[in-house]
C-alpha cells in the first residue's frame, strides 16, 4: 500500500456547516494518508465561535514529501456540503480542480468556473442507510471513488479508527455507498463517451 498513487502535493477543502462532520472527514483523510499510506498530511480546521452552527471548513494537504506550507493555496478538490460553504470557497478552486457537492444542499452558481463537477445526494443516501449523520462518510466514499490521492484501504482503516466502535459497520456501508455511486457515474460517463 505504501507509496501508491499521488505524484505531488494535493490540497483538499471540505466545507459544510458545523455538525456535519467536516472536521472528521479531514481527520480521516489525513490519518489515512499519514498513518496508513506512507505520505505526509497536514489537517487544519476553522476554529472558534464563528465556526459553530455556521460555516465549518477543514483543509487537508497530502504530499509524498515533507509539507512545509500547511494551508490550502488553491484546492485540487473542493467538497461542498452546504450552500454557505460552497459560496464562500468556490472562487478559490484550481482552474482544473474537482468540485464535489451534495446536490440536495448546494445549488451551483451560474458562474461556476470549474468544469470538473460531480454531485451526489449524500445526505439523502445517509438517511436511507438509517442515519443522516453518516452523510460525511458517504461523501468521503464518493471522494475516494473520484480521486487517487490516498489508497482506499488506508481510508477504510482510518474510518475504523476514527468513528465510534458501534458505528463502524454503518460507516463502512456509507463509505461503500458513496464509492459505488462514484463508480456508477464514471461508468455512465464512459459509456456516454463511447456511444
Amino acid at each position: 500500500m505504501k507509496g501508491a498513487t499521488t505524484p505531488s502535493r494535493k490540497e483538499v477543502r471540505f466545507t459544510g456547516y458545523g455538525g456535519q462532520g467536516m472536521v472528521v472527514m479531514g481527520l480521516i483523510l489525513g490519518r489515512a494518508a499519514a498513518v496508513h499510506d506512507g505520505k505526509s498530511a497536514t489537517m487544519t480546521q476553522s476554529y472558534g465561535p464563528e465556526a459553530r452552527g455556521g460555516a465549518s471548513s477543514t483543509q487537508c494537504i497530502i504530499s509524498p514529501s515533507r509539507i512545509f506550507y500547511p494551508y490550502v493555496i488553491e484546492p485540487d478538490v473542493l467538497v461542498g456540503m452546504s450552500q454557505e460553504g460552497y459560496d464562500k470557497h468556490r472562487l478559490n478552486i484550481k482552474p482544473d480542480g474537482k468540485l464535489l457537492y451534495d446536490e440536495d444542499l448546494v445549488t451551483l452558481s451560474p458562474e461556476e468556473k470549474t468544469k470538473n463537477i460531480h454531485s451526489i445526494p449524500a445526505t439523502r443516501f445517509a438517511e436511507e442507510l438509517g442515519r443522516k449523520i453518516v452523510a460525511n462518510i458517504v461523501m468521503l466514499g464518493f471522494f475516494c471513488g473520484l480521486t487517487d490521492f490516498v489508497a482506499e484501504e488506508a481510508i477504510r482503516k482510518a474510518i475504523e479508527e476514527s468513528v465510534p466502535k458501534p458505528t463502524i459497520t454503518l460507516n463502512i456501508k456509507a463509505f461503500d455507498k458513496g464509492k459505488s455511486y462514484a463508480l456508477s457515474l464514471l461508468e455512465g460517463s464512459a459509456a456516454k463517451a463511447k456511444s
Binding site: L27, G30, A34, V35, A41, T44, G48, P70
Partner: protein, 384 residues
C-alpha cells in the same frame, strides 16, 4: 491502569496541543496545574484525562498565578511538572515564572501563542510574546525557550524542555503558537526504552551538608525533594548559597551573575538550530515556529527566481544563538527575519549583525500567517 499507559508508542495523527500533552506524559510529567485558556486548552484537557491513568495529578487552579506556583511546588515535592497557557494567561504567569527562576526550579511552561495585546485574538495565531518570554518577569535573568514548528516537534520539544529543565535546574518555556497547536499531523511516539530522559539530579550529600544553591564550575546546583530529611529554606528574596535571604549588593551580584552564567556559559550545549540551503546562501532567513514553515515556501519561491537564500531556523530561541548570527554576518549579504509580530527576534538579529549586513523584517500583526509571496519579495529585495 498504571505506568503501561504512560507512553503511547505508535504512529498517531494528532493536533499539536495533544502531541504536547503526550510529550509531557512521555517525559514523565506527574503533575499539571493549569487554568484553561484558548488555544492551549486542549493540552490541559488531555492531561486531565491522561495523568490519572498513571497515578499523576491534574489540578485546575483558580488562576494562572496559582497554576505557575503549583508546578513549582510539585517540582520541590519531587515530581516533574508542567503547565500551559496563552495570551493574558502568560502575562499572569510572569511573576511566578520569576520565582521559578530564582528558586532554580525544574519545570515546563508551554505558551500556545495567540494574537495580543490583552484578550486579543483567542482563536488566532501570533508570535508576539517572544520578548516577554525573555524579559516578562521583573529583574535580570536568562531563560531557555524552544519554538517547535509541527506536532511532531512539539512532542519532541516538550520532552526536550523537561530534559533541559532538569539539566539546568530552571523553568523551560515551550513557545509554540496557535497554528502549530491546532494543526493535525503524524506524530511518531517512540518505544519507551528509546526515549532519552534526564532524571532529576538529586544530591548525594547528607542533610546538613547540602546547600540548595551551591554549585561548581557548571553553575548548576543539585536538587532535593521534600520529605527526604533535608531541612532547607528557599525564598524569592535575594539569597545566599544556603537559600537564606541576604539583602545586599554583594549577594545580589553573586546570585544574578549565577543565574545568567548558568545559561550563558552552557548556551552552546543548549542551542539547537536547523540550517536549510545554507551552503551557498547570500541571504539568510531567520524564523521559528509556524513562521518558519511559511518562510520555507517564501524561500522556495525566491530560489526559483535565482536568489541564493537559505534559512537559519531557530529551534532554541532563548538563549539566542548570537555567535551564529555574528559568524554569518561576516559572510552573507542580508538577513530577513520572519515572525508574527512587528520585530522582536529581528531586534536580536540586528544587534548581533551589528551593521555588517543588511537586516530586513517581514512583519505581521498576527491573526493569520504571512503570505509566502510577501516573504519571497522581501528576500529578493534583500538580495539586491
Amino acid at each position: 491502569m498504571g505506568e503501561e499507559r504512560r507512553v503511547l508508542t505508535g504512529e498517531h495523527f494528532l493536533t499539536g496541543d495533544h502531541a504536547c500533552a503526550e510529550g509531557g506524559m512521555a517525559a514523565g510529567c506527574m503533575f499539571f496545574g493549569g487554568y484553561p485558556i484558548t488555544p492551549s486548552t486542549e493540552i490541559a484537557e488531555r492531561m486531565s484525562l491522561r495523568l490519572p491513568e498513571v497515578g499523576g495529578i491534574f489540578i485546575q487552579m483558580e488562576d494562572e498565578m496559582a497554576s505557575m506556583n503549583s508546578i513549582l511546588g510539585a517540582a520541590w515535592g519531587g515530581w516533574k511538572s508542567m503547565t500551559c497557557t496563552s495570551g493574558p494567561g502568560f502575562s499572569l504567569m510572569m511573576e511566578n515564572l520569576g520565582l521559578g527562576i530564582v528558586l532554580e526550579t525544574p519545570t515546563v511552561l508551554v505558551n500556545i501563542q495567540r494574537g495580543g495585546p490583552s484578550t486579543g485574538l483567542p482563536t488566532l495565531s501570533g508570535q508576539a510574546d517572544m520578548m516577554q518570554a525573555k524579559w516578562g518577569s521583573h529583574g535580570d535573568y536568562e531563560i531557555i525557550a524552544l519554538a517547535p514548528n509541527s506536532p511532531q516537534e512539539i512532542f519532541d520539544h516538550t520532552i526536550k524542555a523537561f530534559n533541559l529543565a532538569e539539566q539546568y535546574r530552571t523553568p523551560v518555556l515551550v513557545m509554540s503558537d496557535e497554528s502549530v497547536g491546532h494543526m493535525t499531523e503524524k506524530v511518531i511516539i517512540p518505544p519507551r526504552e528509546e526515549l532519552k530522559l534526564v532524571p532529576r539530579n538529586y544530591t548525594k550529600k547528607k542533610p546538613g551538608e547540602y546547600l540548595p544553591f551551591e554549585c561548581g564550575e557548571d553553575e548548576i546546583p543539585e536538587m532535593v525533594k521534600a520529605g527526604d530529611g533535608y531541612k532547607i529554606h528557599i525564598t524569592g528574596l535575594t539569597h545566599d548559597k544556603r537559600g537564606y535571604p541576604d539583602i545586599s549588593a554583594e549577594a545580589q551580584d553573586w546570585m544574578v551573575r549565577h543565574l545568567m552564567n548558568k545559561i550563558q556559559k552552557n548556551k552552546k550545549k543548549i542551542i539547537e538550530v536547523e540550517r536549510i540551503n545554507m551552503d551557498d546562501a547570500e541571504v539568510v532567513v531567520v524564523s521559528y515556529g509556524i513562521s518558519s514553515r511559511v518562510a520555507h515556501r517564501g524561500m522556495d519561491l525566491a530560489r526559483k527566481t535565482g536568489v541564493k537564500v537559505g534559512m537559519l531556523r531557530l529551534i532554541t530561541v532563548w538563549p539566542f544563538p548570537d555567535y551564529m548570527i555574528k559568524e554569518l554576518a561576516e559572510r552573507v549579504k542580508a538577513f530577513v527575519t520572519v515572525e508574527l509580530n512587528f520585530g522582536q527576534i529581528a531586534l536580536e538579529v540586528e544587534r548581533y549583525v551589528a551593521g555588517k549586513a543588511k537586516c530586513y523584517l517581514v512583519p505581521h500583526a498576527g491573526g493569520d500567517v504571512h503570505k509566502p509571496e510577501d516573504i519571497a519579495e522581501a528576500i529578493k529585495e534583500a538580495a539586491k
